[in-house]
């Protein structure tokens, strides 16, 4: 707890025309902790992650990474600084093997890929990082398959594996459990538990069982605003949250 926030966000805003998809959000993610963001469909959770990862520039507000201002940096810079993200809508290279998907992700950690002579597959460290991330997500046996030949659940695992292959210090995960079967889901929850110790994690997730099993801290978003933020027990007891979202414990999204 003594450690400074890995990622901290102040008054973050993103407008789409007249709509404030994210309307002034402040939160923190600390190493060794998992901060879950929940909220109904359209609350602005994905937009928030897009802002943090540099996929979208914010309309206003400030994002700091280990105390350094990274607001408005392009996504590749944010990634290079150690922020890895996964996508809600699977965003893998369908025409490449699972291995190549992760290998390419790991290759991004070379100081530069402006290397023209030695074969890409001869970089042993890169291959090892790719294998490690495939193994962590339980995909090692599927390494040689084209991503397009993987089941939907496996593609979701690959999505996470690619993110891990970039060796991030901060993880932004957008609904990693969406579309996974029960078994895949529970092993992903186990993986997320083990990742917590070395990473600062921000998790967007609709699966409330998983959220309450994993979260050290919870933020509830509704209509781009933070409705409540605190320890999971506090959030569970918060009447406003219950009314707006938790209601029957599982919102079906």
């Amino acid at each position: 707890m003594a450690e400074a926030a890995a990622l901290s966000v102040e008054g973050l805003v993103r407008n789409f025309g007249g709509l404030a998809a994210v309307g002034g959000v402040s939160l923190e993610a600390r190493t060794g902790m998992l901060h879950a963001v929940i909220g109904p469909n359209g609350a602005g959770k994905t937009t928030l992650i897009n802002l943090l990862s540099g996929d979208l520039p914010p309309s206003a507000g400030k994002i700091s990474l280990y105390g350094t201002d990274i607001t408005g940096l392009p996504s590749y810079r944010v990634s290079q600084l150690g922020v890895g993200r996964s996508y809600q809508k699977t965003n893998v290279f369908l025409g490449f093997t699972a291995f190549e998907n992760c290998r390419l992700a790991a290759q991004s950690r070379l100081p530069s890929s402006m290397r023209f002579v030695r074969r890409a597959l001869a970089y042993a460290d890169v291959n090892r990082a790719a294998e490690r991330s495939l193994a962590a997500t339980g995909l090692e046996a599927r390494s040689g398959e084209l991503a397009s030949a993987l089941s939907h659940g496996e593609q979701r695992q690959l999505e996470i594996a690619m993110t891990l292959a970039t060796s991030p210090r901060v993880l932004l995960l957008d609904e990693p459990l969406a579309g996974m079967g029960a078994e895949e889901s529970s092993s992903m929850v186990e993986l997320l538990k083990t990742l917590r110790s070395g990473h600062a994690m921000l998790l967007v997730e609709h699966d409330m069982d998983a959220v309450f099993a994993l979260a050290d801290r919870l933020t509830v978003m509704v209509n781009g605003q933070v409705l409540a933020s605190g320890a999971p027990a506090e959030i569970r007891a918060n009447p406003a949250v219950q009314e707006a979202y938790l209601g029957e414990d599982e919102p079906g999204g």
Partner: protein
């Protein structure tokens, strides 16, 4: 093998046989000056088409202005060739490639900010600008162009192994360059740089989010492609002994594009096949009928319909993603 370094065996075999055939042709066809000149031209176009494929087939960058670099290199050679003696090959080649690198860098910095249809339009616009500059410049010979009176002189510290005036010698230089560019591209595509380029074509957004500054990679690819196109243009100008604005025209860009599509994008061998097929057919049809362009068009439509992945796919499926490392 990685996805993009994998090449079907049959295709590799065809390529080796083809190269061997090209290598022995002058021995049997030494008197066939016309055909030797013709084959030399085909090989030059194959180099040009390969350079374009680096952009289209790997980077997903459909340039319709690639002839600009082809022509610029030719005009550089012409400008550096005195009337009664040959230019030094090394100096004029270095200058031609330097001009192309610089031009591609400047154009790339501007056009790579666009994508899709806009990219096609802007590359075309730049090439058209260059075309009209050359076309309207008296010094460069205007619409008629100018002769390159004497072939460049190849010398190593004063020693001249052979003269490019000998068609057979020049023929082998071009063949060697073709093979060299082919292996250079294979090396490039198997490298980390090549894998990044293929990733950008597949999903640029994800590549950025994985930490790759994609613009820089596209720019470097654009410059490499421009330089290789320049190499082809230099050889063409020296071989033909003349330059004219047609070298920079959009027909010329379009022809290379057709070769790439016909042969198969994204394989280094495809453009070679495409160049060979297109030029050979052109030769056959022109000797047969004056409506050859109609028939050529028909042929291209047919090939594209029957083999959407180009002629290279005749020789086996490409192993995209072909499995393990090692």
């Amino acid at each position: 093998m990685a996805m993009h370094d994998a090449q079907p065996r049959a295709l590799a075999l065809v390529l080796v046989i083809g190269l061997a055939g090209l290598a022995v042709f002058p021995i049997f066809g030494a008197d066939e000056k016309f055909y030797m000149q013709f084959l030399a031209k085909v090989m030059v176009m194959a180099i040009f088409a390969m350079s374009l494929d680096l952009l289209i087939g790997y980077g997903g960058l459909v340039s319709l202005g690639h002839a600009m670099y082809f022509g610029l290199a030719g005009y550089t050679l012409m400008s550096l060739t005195p009337e009664y003696e040959g230019a030094s090959l090394w100096i004029s080649l270095a200058a031609a490639l330097g001009v192309c690198a610089l031009a591609a860098l400047v154009v790339g910095l501007l056009v790579l900010r666009t994508s899709g249809i806009y990219f096609i339009m802007v590359t075309l616009a730049f090439a058209q600008m260059a075309y009209y500059v050359v076309h309207d410049s008296k010094y460069l010979g205007g619409s008629d162009g100018k002769y390159v009176y004497v072939k460049p002189v190849l010398s190593f510290f004063g020693w001249q192994p052979f003269s490019l005036d000998k068609l057979a010698a020049f023929y082998y230089v071009i063949l060697g360059t073709l093979a060299g560019v082919y292996f250079l591209l294979r090396l490039l595509l198997a490298s980390p740089f090549g894998h990044v380029l293929v990733g950008i074509k597949a999903n640029e957004h994800r590549m950025r989010s994985l930490g790759f500054p994609t613009f820089s990679y596209k720019l470097v690819a654009f410059v490499i492609a421009g330089v290789l196109a320049g190499l082809a243009g230099y050889l063409a100008a020296a071989l033909d002994g003349l330059v004219n604005p047609e070298l920079l025209s959009w027909h010329q860009s379009g022809q290379a594009l057709m070769m790439v599509i016909l042969g198969g994008m994204g394989t280094p061998a495809g453009p070679i096949l495409g160049a060979g097929a297109l030029k050979l057919l052109e030769l056959l049809l022109t000797s047969w009928t004056k409506h050859w362009q109609l028939l050529l068009g028909l042929f291209i439509v047919l090939v594209v319909l029957v083999f959407p992945n180009g002629l290279a796919s005749l020789f086996g499926k490409r192993k995209r993603g072909g499995a393990e490392h090692g």
